[in-house]
């Protein structure tokens, strides 16, 4: 069809001309419905902005030069750190330095305390994020910008590899059927019954115990990605296999088989392209959850990054939340202390993770609605 052919409002399927590219037509049809979905378009624009930021961040100065590390304390108005940090569990803090109380130690804080109302601190908006493991602070905005390619890259590579494995395995299982299908499906059942995040953490614990600190920078990240992929392929395998069971009964597959197409040709030319859409929807959903899960891992106190502080959205978010909890708890431990609540520390990293996940959700929901004729009626 011509690119300027007018689309009928009611039936966007182009009728004029030979249908030379049915898949292209479907893509155009999907885009037509997607465009009318405001939320999906909002999601798409936000994702595009993030991608642009990620690309632009490569022109940003290197972390060492720009991600300034600040002194290891949260400044009070008088910049009297000792005032906030009177409570230091193991031993009294040296004057002028501040203890980063880990989230796990909070049960040690004496429970009966009242403290004065939280108020906005003196720090400039969007400036500092803490890293409890080093006690150092770094700039939130820099961290978020430098973190964009890491967050996006890690998310896409985890979900992409998981989907690829699931796609191949699920398609072969669905096409072949029989014992192979049964074996693959039981195997996925087993993996699906271990809660995903726990499996990731167990894998990381085992790997870090056996490999220790001998890993390179990229090696550690590869291990992280691998651990996630191990937990993620079964979901895709199950989705693809269910879709293939429907696809393989279609008459075009039968026709292809009758005209002598080999199994691999059937798989690559007919079955996989026609089972792709649910995978695509699931992938776009999952990409958004990766930074969340990375944040959870960091929040639970499991060090996964080769260097610290590592600019990754979920990580920055988790560290900031931990820091604020600690601040409040430490502050609550000091009678009569005025507590400052640096809300921007949790707002901006949290907002980044949230916006990424929610826009990806909007987009995939829009795609699902656009693809499913029952839902778009």
């Amino acid at each position: 069809m011509g690119s300027n052919a007018p689309l009928d409002e009611k039936s966007p399927t182009p009728v004029a001309g030979p249908r030379r590219h049915p898949q292209l037509d479907q893509l155009k049809r999907t885009w037509y419905f997607l465009r009318k979905n405001t939320l999906a378009m909002v999601g798409l624009s936000i994702i595009l902005i993030f991608v642009v930021v990620a690309l632009a961040s490569f022109g940003y100065p290197a972390p060492g030069a720009k991600m300034t590390l600040y002194c290891g304390t949260y400044p009070t108005p008088a910049n009297n750190c000792a005032q906030v940090c009177t409570y230091a569990p193991p031993s009294p803090a040296p004057p002028g330095t501040c203890y980063a109380v880990s989230a796990l130690q909070k049960s040690l804080v004496p429970p009966t305390i009242s403290f004065s109302p939280l108020s906005l601190g003196p720090l400039p908006l969007g400036s500092l994020a803490p890293d409890p493991s080093t006690g150092l602070f770094y700039n939130i905005a820099d961290g978020l910008i430098k973190g964009a390619p890491w967050s996006l890259g890690i998310s896409v590579s985890i979900v992409g590899s998981g989907a690829l494995i699931g796609l191949l395995l699920g398609a072969i299982a669905g096409l072949k059927g029989g014992y192979f299908d049964e074996a693959v499906m039981r195997f996925t059942d087993i993996f699906l019954s271990i809660p995903g995040l726990l499996l990731v953490l167990v894998l990381l614990a085992v790997l870090s115990a056996s490999l220790g600190n001998s890993l390179s920078f990229l090696g550690r990240i590869a291990i992280l990605v691998g651990a996630f992929v191990v937990t993620w392929w079964p979901f895709y395998t199950r989705i693809v296999r269910g879709q293939v069971l429907v696809t393989r009964e279609q008459s075009y597959v039968e026709a292809a088989r009758a005209s002598g197409a080999s199994n691999s040709r059937l798989l690559l030319k007919h079955i996989i392209p026609n089972s792709m859409y649910p995978v695509f929807v699931q992938m776009s959903l999952d990409v958004g959850t990766v930074p969340l899960l990375l944040g959870v891992i960091i929040f639970l106190g499991f060090p996964i990054w080769p260097s610290s502080p590592f600019p990754e959205w979920g990580t920055i978010s988790a560290l900031s939340v931990q820091n604020i909890e600690n601040l409040v708890l430490v502050c609550a431990g000091v009678q009569g202390a005025t507590c400052y609540f640096p809300w921007w520390q949790i707002l901006f990293p949290g907002l980044t993770v949230f916006l990424f996940a929610i826009s990806v959700n909007f987009l995939s929901d829009g795609i699902r609605d656009a693809l499913d004729p029952r839902l778009r009626r």
């Binding site: 195997f187 944040g295 929040f299 949230f354």
Partner: protein
């Protein structure tokens, strides 16, 4: 097929999955270097943790470390792998899951090394189950009515609102949500009321409870069974706080422990409602387009009855299935929530055991228990589904 045959078949299918999960954990634990396994199991001796140590008399020749040989022999690591696997399975099914490490974070948390892992789990599991039940309750009372209404008011403000609400549940990091909720409640209630086993909450006022109950002291972490209910004289036969409190004739404490579950259960539910709500809406949309709904409307059945009886009932099947599918996702929120709210469930146990130095016995014990919960939940869902839809068990 009769219902009980169906149930029996489903339960039988549990066995291979369980064997598979245990085999995976066996493979993983075998991948841990021997030295670290021995340290995790027996602690490190003064003489060193290597396979060879310098001899007592000194000299350039190294001697075999008796700690190492003894450890290897006790764990059965000197036997062939199939034998190790069989022993592992036997121990797993006879509930001999080993002992906690004496060098891990659990010791700092008050659990002395060498405590049987099954015993620890039996102390910590009930709280997780109570939390799960409570969150499930919130999920159901939120997801079904809101999802149905969103389908009825499709693409209108209510639907869009529900969409944004459910997506925000998906997209908000649970540690952020839980922490902010906790901090907000702390601030609102004017400080900490009691930090043990829960959170400070203004719900105190709603229930008309005093901020601290008489006889309710914060129990310290201790090696003995956590005496949740305060004084040591009271018995704790089930380890479920609410049930134990009622057995001991302490309804106020039962109420108190339920009150403490509100905020954590709500934060867990909020994250999980998202997916379920979408499925309820979509299945409801599908059902509402079916012919019998049109028939019902044509013959003059009131719209409210059409929605609640004709369509609502039939879209429930999908809801049940989705509940089973999201259970694994839902349970992932437990470690973080229990950590933030300081609830002594197995999620907290897991969190402590993955801190270095790892406590591998506890890591794998909690993982297996979590997997069993997921599998059992799926079986229950299947059975409920078969009960709701006879075609499943007949087909």
């Amino acid at each position: 097929m009769k219902m009980w045959i169906y149930i029996a078949r489903r339960v039988l299918l549990l066995v291979p999955v369980l064997l598979g999960v245990l085999t995976i954990t066996f493979i993983l634990i075998s991948a841990v270097p021997t030295q670290q396994r021995l340290v995790s199991a027996f602690g490190s001796p003064k003489s060193g943790t290597g396979q060879y140590i310098s001899c007592p008399g000194g000299g350039p020749v190294l001697c075999v470390n008796p700690w190492w040989t003894h450890g290897i022999h006790t764990l059965g690591l000197d036997q062939p792998v199939p034998v190790q696997w069989a022993k592992y399975m036997y121990n797993a099914f006879t509930l001999q899951w080993g002992y906690t490490s004496s060098s891990s974070y659990l010791v700092q948390a008050g659990i002395p090394g060498g405590t049987p892992i099954t015993q620890i789990l039996s102390w910590y599991l009930p709280y997780t189950l109570e939390l799960a039940a409570f969150s499930l309750f919130f999920i159901l009372i939120l997801a079904i009515p809101v999802g149905n209404r969103a389908a009825v008011y499709r693409n209108r403000p209510f639907d869009q609102g529900a969409r944004i609400l459910s997506f925000s549940g998906f997209a908000l990091p649970n540690f952020l949500l839980a922490s902010v909720a906790l901090l907000a409640f702390v601030v609102l209630s004017g400080g900490f009321v009691s930090i043990c086993g829960g959170h400070a909450s203004p719900l105190d006022l709603w229930f008309g409870l005093p901020p601290s109950l008489p006889g309710y002291a914060c129990p310290p972490y201790s090696g003995s069974p956590p005496h949740w209910i305060g004084s040591l004289q009271e018995t704790s036969p089930t380890h479920f706080i609410t049930i134990d409190a009622l057995i001991n004739g302490q309804p106020l404490i039962a109420l108190d422990s339920i009150r403490r579950l509100f905020l954590p259960a709500l934060t867990i539910a909020y994250a999980s409602v998202a997916g379920i709500l979408r499925f309820v809406r979509n299945s409801m949309l599908e059902v509402m387009n079916l012919d019998y709904i049109r028939t019902a409307r044509a013959k003059g059945v009131p719209e409210a009855v059409v929605i609640s009886k004709h369509a609502g009932r039939n879209s429930l099947n999908v809801t049940v299935t989705v509940l089973g599918l999201t259970f694994a996702f839902f349970i992932v929120g437990f470690p973080v929530t229990e950590l933030i709210f300081n609830l002594r469930g197995i999620g907290l146990l897991f969190t402590y055991s993955i801190l270095q130095p790892f406590d591998f016995g506890t890591i794998f014990g909690t993982t297996v228990v979590f997997s069993i919960i997921v599998v059992l939940a799926n079986i229950i869902v299947d059975i409920v589904y078969a009960y709701l839809d006879p075609r499943v068990r007949l087909g």
